[in-house]
């Protein structure tokens, strides 16, 4: 009976021409590699938000699927650096929302977009003062 053999350096079929004997018919060298699953990111990249008002709450999601939230938080300074953000398209359009109405002065809700590529994306923010809300 023939049997399949897989070893560290090769693979083949062991042929049993007669009882008590064996003969390996090698396939050759087989290489093993990791296969990307459909749900895995294409790549990981960085996002930078510039000129953001300190204390602003930010929220970033994949524009084509807003349930896929990439990052969220509160800006501790005027620049926010986010690293190793997964991208599910190349390039991937992201939606950036900024809200700043907890302190003084207040700013209007702000939304913008950007394309995330392998080298990352820089979003320059231009929040507008809210002259109506107290």
């Amino acid at each position: 009976m023939s049997q399949l053999f897989i070893g560290n350096t090769g693979a083949g079929i062991i042929i049993d021409p007669s009882p008590g004997s064996a003969k390996l018919m090698p396939f050759g060298t087989i290489s093993y590699g990791k296969v990307r699953q459909p749900t895995d990111p294409f790549f990981y990249a960085n996002i930078e938000l510039q000129n953001i008002i300190t204390g602003t709450r930010y929220w970033i999601a994949q524009a084509s699927d807003l349930s896929n939230v990439l990052a969220s938080g509160t800006a501790s300074g005027t620049t926010v650096n986010l690293s190793s953000i997964p991208a599910y398209a190349n390039p991937m359009l992201i939606e950036v929302r900024l809200r700043s109405a907890s302190g003084e002065p207040k700013y209007k809700p702000y939304k913008t977009y950007g394309y995330l590529v392998k080298s990352g994306v820089t979003v320059y923010c231009a929040q507008v003062l809210d002259t109506v809300a107290n």
């Binding site: 709450r57 929220w59 969220s72 109506v132 809300a133």
Partner: protein, 198 residues
């Protein structure tokens, strides 16, 4: 809290017993809700405009436009609800107020609404004038108390007939008189343990 925000159903619920609110109060609450961790996950609730100065203490009135299907919903009951202080517009089919059983809503809108700051003659707004008046009253009280303390410390005092008497700096004008008592509560001039002002 006058408002509760239902982001799933796009409703701004007015909480009992609130039956009236201004557009200013509404937009302030909306902006506060939008900035929360829950609020930022949804699109903004409203746009607002107005309050441009026209000079002379007059400003353009406020207009709050509810976006998408957002509506204001009053609590159910038999009463008249009022939305004042500006224009509230928007909502599904241009209806910014959702139906509530038993509630009649007065929504007064104006194409030329303005905000006028009432002058009190001092050149300040009404609220500023009230604040200044309160501060002035407190200063008067502080002055009176301070003068009393100064007189107590700076003038003559004497113990006579089981009483302690304080005078102003002129050593003639009496400002306070105390009965003196010993540890047993008996009137005394020698073993004084307490005093009570007359």
């Amino acid at each position: 809290m006058a408002f509760l925000f239902d982001f799933e159903n796009t409703l701004i619920n007015v909480v009992s017993p609130t039956t009236e609110f201004t557009c200013q109060e509404l937009i302030d609450a909306i902006r506060t809700a939008e900035v929360t961790g829950e609020g930022i996950q949804y699109s903004k609730i409203a746009d607002a405009s107005g309050k441009e100065s026209l000079g002379g203490g007059v400003a353009v009135g406020i207009t709050v436009e509810l976006l998408g299907n957002w509506q204001v919903k009053f609590w159910e009951g038999n009463y008249i609800a009022k939305i004042t202080g500006g224009n509230l517009v928007g909502g599904p089919a241009g209806d910014p107020v959702a139906y509530s059983a038993g509630v009649q809503t007065l929504l007064i809108q104006s194409a030329a609404g303005t905000i006028t700051t009432i002058s009190t003659g001092s050149g300040l707004s009404e609220s500023q004038d009230e604040t200044l008046t309160a501060i002035s009253n407190n200063v008067g009280t502080i002055k009176t108390d301070t003068e009393f303390i100064k007189d107590i410390e700076g003038g003559k005092w004497t113990i006579v007939n089981d009483q302690m008497v304080f005078f102003k700096a002129d050593n003639m004008t009496e400002i306070a008189r105390f009965d003196l008592y010993d540890a047993d509560g008996n009137a005394t001039m020698t073993n004084v343990m307490s005093r009570e002002r007359l």
